[in-house]
């Protein structure tokens, strides 16, 4: 946490998106929207800074710790900047039996990074994923916590990297919902 209390306010768009989630819960249970709030902020900025987490806590009338402890518990939250695209490869038993090790090796050599690292151009971060519940289509790659690529092979990986490479240069981050 930075020592100087930098005041950051959430944008109106982000507040609006969070409000939609607050409405799903009883009025006195705004805390229920913490997970969604963090996801919305991460979607907009790519990661969760301490300042923005504090801003979320303030917005939901919570002590900052209630937000930090959630952000540090769940694996999809990024508390440090990562690459433009997160590539998560499942390494659990069904994917493992179907060759996910080779997929990781291929990604590591294509990207020139090891598991957990980010490419020097800031485009890709490589992650280990825990079971993504698509075991009958193993091995599985998930991009940016959303899109599944099933039964991936080194050839499919090459195509995906090529597509993302081109798309990543053109556009910035997408919607904040």
């Amino acid at each position: 946490m930075s020592s100087e209390e930098q005041i950051i306010q959430l944008t109106p768009e982000i507040c609006q998106a969070i409000d939609q989630w607050v409405l799903k819960y009883p009025p006195e249970q705004k805390r229920s929207a913490v997970l969604a709030g963090l996801r919305i902020i991460q979607r907009a900025y790519g990661w969760l800074s301490d300042e923005r987490m504090r801003a979320l806590a303030e917005y939901l009338d919570l002590p900052p710790m209630d937000v930090y402890e959630v952000a540090s518990f769940y694996s999809m939250y990024e508390r440090k900047p990562i690459g433009r695209y997160k590539l998560a490869v499942c390494m659990n038993i069904s994917c493992h039996l179907c060759g996910s090790d080779n997929i990781i090796k291929h990604l590591e050599s294509r990207l020139g990074i090891c598991m957990g690292e980010t490419t020097s151009d800031g485009l890709f971060t490589l992650r280990r994923a825990e079971c993504l519940a698509a075991c009958t289509d193993a091995p599985i790659l998930q991009v940016d916590d959303r899109d599944y690529y099933k039964r991936v092979t080194p050839e499919i990986i090459d195509q995906v990297l090529e597509q993302l490479h081109q798309a990543g240069r053109k556009k910035g981050r997408d919607d904040a919902t």
Binding site: K24, P26, F73, M91, L97, C135, D145, D147
Partner: protein, 427 residues
């Protein structure tokens, strides 16, 4: 054998998830009948009990009995929760229900809510299911538009509001009390039980939690009758079940077939073991369940009681097949590493023990095992089992103990020779 007649009954259609297609197979007819005829909730509860429907999320608890725990008459807010936090390695059936037949889950939830006397429901999807979440958002929107959800459903005076919520990456949230904590916006730390959710659940109020497949089965049970459903399977093992068969088979996939189907039949449906290899081992219910030798599985039927007799459990119905070239030390290392990564850290035996067993197994795999390591592994596994707040402790202990029970010689070979028996044989 009849396939895809319960949760996957729209699967053969183009755009199986659409409201129109769901209606074409009788969708929302049961809800309409119940509300129009004012069928008493107790009658429906009785049907569910007669159907022998058991929870499809892993524990296999009788659904009717679970529903009867919630005291309907209590004049306070009660909640219904659907658990779509699918993540037990090998399991991927609920995702298909959400993508292919979301309206059936919604109808099942509305009927369950009517029986339980709850007016608010939450459908919790794991965070990685973004696309399934979008599909369910759309389906809920349609259900509101058609008057199936909201206040005064179809003019009956019954209210039910349903909301989709998302997790953010935590296997433990599949445990029902951890899931409740997660909906409350907290870390997914399981709660001590008792009190059980039926008394103290979401926001401290009475709550019933069911798995996706369980709830989605309800409309079909009511359409065709409890007897019909019960007779699909065997005694106390009613209905059909979606089996996710993965690993070393030619056609891995989700197959909805009657409970009690012989494993060998499912293996045939899945195209047999790949590459003409022989079968070595099978985990029949998701990776936390005890492994069984392939030969034992070939003689076993796929239902709760048969698998329990064979020394394992039906669990989520996720069947992981391993061929003769699989190194069991390597496979176990992969399994325990998952539980090590996903331990929520609340209970010491699980938090520390999952790391100890994983490091020990990896050491053995790397050829640096020592005499006594296997006894040590057993000791640690026993030390975790039964000593944690939730069943996660068993989820680490059972694979370790069952792999050692059935494949001990392979572990011993690794320790003695410093290399893999399977790899040596292939060479």
């Amino acid at each position: 054998m009849q396939h895809n007649i319960v949760c996957f009954r729209t699967r053969h259609l183009d755009q199986p998830w659409s409201l129109e297609n769901y209606r074409s197979v009788g969708g929302y007819k049961q809800l309409e009948r119940i509300l129009n005829d004012k069928i008493p909730p107790e009658h429906i509860l009785e049907r569910i009990k007669q159907s022998a429907l058991r929870g499809r999320g892993g524990a296999g608890f009788p659904t009717g009995l679970k529903w009867s725990f919630l005291s309907r008459g209590k004049p306070i807010q009660k909640y219904l929760i659907c658990n779509s936090d699918e993540g037990e390695p090998g399991t991927c059936k609920d995702h298909d229900i959400l993508m292919l037949n979301p309206h059936q889950l919604i109808e099942g939830m509305i009927i369950a809510a009517y029986v339980l006397g709850t007016t608010v429901g939450y459908h919790y999807l794991r965070g990685e299911f973004w696309h399934a979440f979008q599909r369910c958002e759309q389906a809920i929107k349609e259900a509101y538009q058609e008057g199936y959800l909201g206040k005064n459903i179809l003019g009956s005076g019954v209210d039910f509001d349903l909301y989709n919520t998302l997790g953010a990456g935590a296997y433990i949230c599949g445990e029902e009390t951890a899931l409740i904590e997660s909906i409350e916006g907290k870390r997914g730390w399981p709660r001590f039980k008792p009190p059980f959710p039926a008394n103290y659940g979401l926001y401290g109020l009475p709550t019933t939690i069911n798995n996706t497949e369980t709830l989605a089965s309800v409309p079909v049970i009511l359409q065709h009758g409890a007897k019909w459903f019960a007779h699909l399977g065997g005694k106390e093992n009613g209905g059909s079940k979606i089996f996710s068969i993965s690993g070393h088979v030619n056609q891995p996939g989700n197959y909805e077939i009657p409970l009690g189907t012989p494993f060998s039949e499912l293996l045939n449906i899945a195209g047999g073991v790949w590459k003409n290899a022989r079968i070595k081992a099978v985990i029949p219910g998701g990776s936390s369940m005890p492994v069984l030798p392939g030969e034992v599985m070939k003689r076993t039927r796929l239902d709760y009681d048969s698998l329990s007799k064979a020394g394992s459990m039906l669990g989520t119905g996720a069947i992981i097949v391993m061929d003769e070239h699989t190194c069991m030390v390597n496979a176990l290392a992969c399994i325990t590493e998952f539980y090590y990564e996903e331990s929520c850290g609340q209970c010491t035996p699980c938090r520390e023990g999952s790391g100890w067993v994983t490091r020990l197994i990896k050491r053995i795999e790397a050829g640096q095992g020592k005499p006594g390591d296997l006894d040590c592994l057993e000791q640690i596994a026993k030390g975790i089992e039964g000593r944690t707040i939730c069943a996660f402790g068993e989820a680490i202990a059972w694979p370790v103990r069952s792999f050692l029970k059935h494949f001990r010689a392979e572990f011993e070979y690794h320790i003695e020779h410093g290399c893999c028996q399977v790899a040596a044989r292939v060479r």
